[in-house]
C-alpha cells in the first residue's frame, strides 16, 4: 500500500469516527429531551395573568405542551389553528380568556396539510373544539407563499402519520411527499443546535408557570450575538417574551422592552424562493375542503382567516395571484375571511407578520356579524 493511500485511509477513519460519534451523541441527546405531551399540562389550572414560560424549550417541545393539553383535556367552544402568524390571537379578542371558551392551538410553523393532520388527530381523539374552528392560512405575501402548503415539520411523527390519507387512492407523488416529510421531520429535529443545547442545559418543568411581571426583562449584553435558541437557555427566565397565556396565545410583548415597529414589506417576493407554484391552487382548495369536511361531520362550524401582512400594495404578486386562483376553486359554502387588503394599517400589527389584538377584535366582530359567535363586549 502506498504511503498516500495509507494516509488517506487513516485520515478518513478519524474523520468518519469523529463525525459518527458526534452524530450518535446528538441523536442520543434528542431522545433524552422530555416530552410535555404526557402527562399533559392543564392550561385551565393557570390563574388569570399567569404565564407558561417556554424559554429553553425546543419548538417541538413548545408545541408538545399544547398538544398534550389539546389531545387529552381541551375541548373549548372555539379553537384557533394556525402558525406563529396568529400567536397573539387570544381570548381577549372575544373579551373572554377562559380556556374553556377559546384556545389558540398555534404551532410555530404549521401549514394547511399539517393543520389537517392536527385536526384529524384531534378528531380521532374526540377532542375537537365544540362550536367553531378558526383556521388561519398564511397570507401569500407574508412569506412569499411559504407555509401555506410547505410543511414546517414540527408536529410529532405520530400525528403526521395518523392523518395519512394516501392509502385510499394510490398516488405515487403523495406517498413520496409523505416519506420526504417523515424523513425531514426526523432530520430537522435531530440535526439541530437548539435540540442539542436544550438537551444539555434544559431546566426543570415545575417552575415554568409564573405570574406575569415576576421576571427581569434584561438579557445579558454579551449573549446578544447568539441565536435565540441558545440565548434562552442561559437566560433563566430573563423575559417572558413568547410565554403562553392560559388561552394558548402569547404575551403581546416582552415586559419592559419597547415594541419594535413593524417593517413594511419585510419579506421580499423574489422568484427563486417562492413557496407556491401554479398547480398549488388546486391543492390549497382541496385542503380547505377536507378541513371543512372535518368540521361538518363533527357538527362544528369552520371559518378560514387570511390575516394581513404589513406591506405596500403588492396584490399583484405571483403568489397572491396563485392564491386568488385557489379561492375561486373553493365551494361557496366554505367561509373565508380574506383580510389581505388590510396590510397598510400599522396599528393592526404587533410586528410585520403578526397582527395585533386590534385586528383580532375586528375578526371577532366579523364572526359575530356573520352569526358564528355571540360577542358581548363589556359595557
Amino acid at each position: 500500500m502506498k504511503a498516500s493511500e495509507r494516509y488517506q485511509r487513516h485520515w478518513l477513519s478519524f474523520y468518519a469516527f469523529t463525525l459518527g460519534l458526534l452524530i450518535i451523541a446528538s441523536n442520543g441527546l434528542y431522545f433524552r429531551l422530555p416530552d410535555y405531551r404526557s402527562p399533559p399540562f392543564d392550561f385551565r389550572t393557570m390563574r388569570v395573568g399567569d404565564l407558561f414560560n417556554v424559554y429553553g424549550l425546543t419548538r417541538r417541545q413548545e408545541g408538545s405542551v399544547k398538544l398534550g393539553f389539546a389531545e387529552t383535556l381541551a375541548a373549548p367552544e372555539i379553537g384557533a389553528f394556525g402558525n406563529h402568524i396568529i400567536q397573539y390571537f387570544g381570548g381577549d379578542a372575544f373579551y373572554n380568556d377562559d380556556p374553556n371558551y377559546f384556545f389558540n392551538y398555534w404551532y410555530e410553523n404549521l401549514s394547511l396539510p399539517e393543520i389537517y393532520s392536527y385536526l384529524r388527530h384531534l378528531e380521532q381523539r374526540r377532542r375537537l373544539p365544540r362550536k367553531l374552528l378558526i383556521v388561519q392560512i398564511t397570507a401569500p405575501n407574508a412569506d412569499n407563499g411559504n407555509f401555506i402548503l410547505n410543511w414546517g415539520n414540527e408536529l410529532p411523527l405520530d400525528v403526521v402519520l395518523h392523518s395519512y390519507d394516501g392509502r385510499a387512492s394510490f398516488d405515487v407523488f403523495r406517498i413520496a411527499d409523505y416519506i420526504k416529510q417523515v424523513v425531514d421531520n426526523y432530520l430537522h429535529e435531530t440535526f439541530n443546535y437548539n435540540t442539542v443545547a436544550s438537551a444539555l442545559f434544559q431546566g426543570g418543568y415545575r417552575n415554568r408557570v409564573l405570574p406575569r411581571g415576576s421576571c427581569q426583562p434584561d438579557v445579558p449584553l454579551w449573549m446578544s450575538p447568539f441565536p435565540y435558541g441558545i440565548r434562552s437557555l442561559f437566560d433563566s427566565c430573563g423575559a417572558l417574551w413568547a410565554a403562553y397565556k392560559r388561552d394558548g396565545s402569547i404575551t403581546e410583548s416582552n415586559p419592559g422592552q419597547t415594541r419594535e415597529a413593524p417593517v413594511k414589506d419585510e419579506d421580499p417576493l423574489g422568484s427563486s424562493d417562492r413557496g407556491l407554484k401554479p398547480g398549488d391552487a388546486f391543492e390549497i382548495a382541496r385542503y380547505l375542503s377536507v378541513i371543512n369536511d372535518i368540521g361538518q361531520r363533527n357538527g362544528v362550524k369552520v371559518v378560514f382567516i387570511v390575516p394581513p401582512v404589513y406591506e405596500s400594495d403588492r396584490r399583484d404578486s405571483i403568489v397572491n395571484q396563485i392564491f386568488n386562483r385557489s379561492l375561486k376553486l373553493v365551494p361557496s359554502n366554505i367561509t373565508i375571511l380574506d383580510h389581505r387588503d388590510l396590510g397598510s394599517d400599522p396599528s393592526l400589527f404587533q410586528s410585520t407578520r403578526h397582527p395585533s389584538l386590534k385586528y383580532y377584535r375586528m375578526v371577532a366582530t366579523e364572526l359575530a356579524r356573520l352569526g358564528f359567535i355571540k360577542l358581548q363586549p363589556p359595557s
Binding site: 468518519a16 469523529t18 424523513v183 425531514d184 443546535y193 422568484s271 407554484k277
Partner: protein
C-alpha cells in the same frame, strides 16, 4: 436541493457516493446523471422538464451545426436554452421595461408562475458554449447522450457554477466509464466540503444577519460609520457566500473523481479592476471574453465592447436595472484602469489593493437594493452623519477579523495545499469533522446561497 441542506448532506450525498463506488464502471455516469436530475428535479417537475429539453436540444442540434450553414445552425442550436432563459428569467424585466399591461402578463402566466429555475444562467451558458465550440470545430459533437447529460447535469456545478466547457469534462467523464480503479481525492474533497459549509453558515450567513440589522433601521438614522460597516459586511457576505459554494463544489467534484476549476483566486487581493475579474467568478469572465468580447472585436472599439460585455455581466446576474448599472459600473472601472494604468501600476501594492477593494465594495449594495434605493443610500453616505447608531465595537471587530482572514490568509497554504504534507491544524480530520458537524447542527440558521438565484 441545496448544498446547505440536511437532505443533501445527510441523505443524497452519502447515497449517491455509495452507489457511485458500488456500481461497475459503465454504470457510474448513470448514477451521476440520475442522481443529478433528482437533485435538480426536487425543486419542481416543470423546471426539470425545461432543463431536460434544453439538454436534448443542444445534444441533437450539435450534429446540425456541423452540417448546415454556420450561423443559421448555431442560431437554431442556442435558441432553445436561450428561450428558456429569457422566458423564465427576463420576461418580467422585459415587460416592465416595455410597460406592458396586465393582459400581456396574463398571456405569459405560465412562465411567471414557475419558480425561477435554479442555476438557469449557469447551465444555459454551458450549453451555449458547447454549441459554439462545436460550430468552431474546437470539439466534435458528443455522440454519447449519457456522457453529454452527465456534463450538463453534474450536480456539483449545476446550481452556481463553475461554468464548465465540454472539453474540460469530456475526458474525465470518459475515464469514469472505463477505469476499473478510481483514485478519488477523498481527503481534500471532504476538507473542502467541511470548510465550505462552515464558512457559509458561520461567515456568510452571520454577515447577512448583521447586514439585516442595519436594514431594519430607517436610512436616515444610519450614521456614515454604520453604512461603511454595512457595505463591508455586504462585501464579505457575497464573497464568502459564493466562495463557500465554489469550495464545496470543487470538494464534491473530487469526491466523484472530477476536478472542477477553481472559480475564485483571492479576488479581494486584486491590484486593479481588470485583475479582479480574472480572480472573481473566473469561469464567467473567461466565458464572456471568449464568446462575446473577442468575437465583437476585442481591443478594437475597446470602450464599446467592454461596456457591452459588462452590461451583459450585470444582466447575467439579475433581471433588473440595478444589475445592469452594477455591470456598467465595473465596465467603467476596467476602462478607467486601462486609461490610468501607467500611474495605477506604480502605486504601492497595499494602496492599489485597498482602492480596488473599496471600489468593488461600494457597488455591492446594488445587488441588494434597487437603483433608486442605492442612490439614496449613497447620498446619505456622503452626508457623513456622525455616530454609531447600529453597529458597535463587536461588529467592527468581526469585520476586522474577516478582513485579516481575507487579506492575510493565503489559500494555497491552508485550503488548496496538499493535506499529506501539511502540518497545519486545519488539515486535522477531527477538526474538520467537528466543523462539518457544527455546520449540520446549524443548518436551520443558514440562508439560500446568493448565487442560487442566478
Amino acid at each position: 436541493m441545496n448544498f446547505n441542506s440536511l437532505e443533501f448532506l445527510v441523505l443524497f450525498l452519502p447515497a449517491t457516493l455509495l452507489a457511485f463506488y458500488a456500481v461497475v464502471p459503465r454504470l457510474r455516469l448513470w448514477v451521476l446523471s440520475v442522481g443529478s436530475l433528482l437533485f435538480y428535479g426536487i425543486s419542481g417537475l416543470e423546471i426539470l422538464g425545461a432543463f431536460m429539453i434544453a439538454i436534448v436540444w443542444s445534444y441533437s442540434t450539435a450534429f446540425l451545426v456541423r452540417k448546415c450553414p454556420r450561423w443559421l445552425a448555431l442560431l437554431v442550436a442556442i435558441s432553445c436554452p436561450a428561450f428558456f432563459l429569457i422566458m423564465f428569467k427576463y420576461l418580467g424585466f422585459i415587460l416592465d421595461t416595455l410597460q406592458a399591461g396586465p393582459e400581456s402578463r396574463e398571456r405569459f402566466w405560465f412562465f411567471f408562475s414557475i419558480l425561477l429555475p435554479a442555476g438557469i444562467s449557469f447551465y444555459t451558458f454551458e450549453l451555449i458554449s458547447y454549441s459554439i465550440d462545436v460550430s468552431d470545430k474546437k470539439i466534435k459533437p458528443e455522440r454519447n447522450l449519457l456522457r453529454f447529460t452527465s456534463f450538463a447535469t453534474f450536480f456539483p456545478h449545476l446550481i452556481a457554477g463553475p461554468i464548465m466547457r465540454y472539453e474540460d469534462l469530456r475526458d474525465q467523464l470518459q475515464a469514469l466509464q472505463v477505469s476499473t480503479i478510481l483514485r478519488p481525492k477523498l481527503v481534500s474533497g471532504l476538507k473542502l466540503l467541511s470548510i465550505g459549509l462552515f464558512f457559509k453558515i458561520f461567515v456568510a450567513d452571520v454577515s447577512a444577519t448583521l447586514v439585516l440589522r442595519g436594514k431594519s433601521v430607517p436610512l436616515d438614522q444610519l450614521s456614515a460609520a454604520d453604512q461603511l460597516i454595512q457595505i463591508l459586511l455586504w462585501s464579505f457576505q457575497i464573497y464568502y457566500d459564493f466562495w463557500a459554494y465554489s469550495v464545496m463544489a470543487v470538494g464534491l467534484g473530487r469526491l466523484f473523481c472530477i476536478e472542477l476549476p477553481v472559480n475564485f483566486r483571492e479576488p479581494y487581493l486584486s491590484k486593479n479592476p481588470r485583475e479582479f475579474w480574472r480572480r472573481w467568478h473566473i469561469t464567467l469572465s473567461y466565458w464572456l471574453r471568449d464568446y462575446v468580447y473577442i468575437r465583437m472585436g476585442g481591443r478594437e472599439s475597446y470602450v464599446r465592447n467592454i461596456l457591452f460585455v459588462f452590461a451583459l455581466v450585470g444582466l447575467w446576474h439579475g433581471a433588473g436595472w440595478n444589475f445592469v448599472a452594477w455591470g456598467i459600473y465595473h465596465g467603467f472601472l476596467v476602462i478607467s484602469y486601462q486609461k490610468l494604468q501607467y500611474a495605477w501600476d506604480r502605486l504601492p501594492t497595499s494602496v492599489s489593493v485597498g482602492i480596488t477593494f473599496a471600489l468593488v465594495s461600494l457597488a455591492w449594495p446594488l445587488f441588494f437594493l434597487g437603483l433608486d434605493n442605492y442612490t439614496s443610500y449613497l447620498s446619505h453616505l456622503v452626508s457623513f452623519k456622525s455616530g454609531f447608531a447600529v453597529y458597535g465595537p463587536k461588529a467592527w471587530l468581526y469585520v476586522l477579523a474577516l478582513g485579516c482572514l481575507t487579506f492575510y490568509g493565503r489559500e494555497e497554504t491552508w485550503l488548496y495545499n496538499e493535506p499529506e504534507e501539511s502540518k497545519s491544524i486545519i488539515d486535522f480530520p477531527i477538526l474538520l469533522a467537528t466543523m462539518m458537524f457544527a455546520g449540520l447542527l446549524s443548518i436551520s440558521l443558514s440562508k439560500t446561497f446568493v448565487y442560487f438565484r442566478f
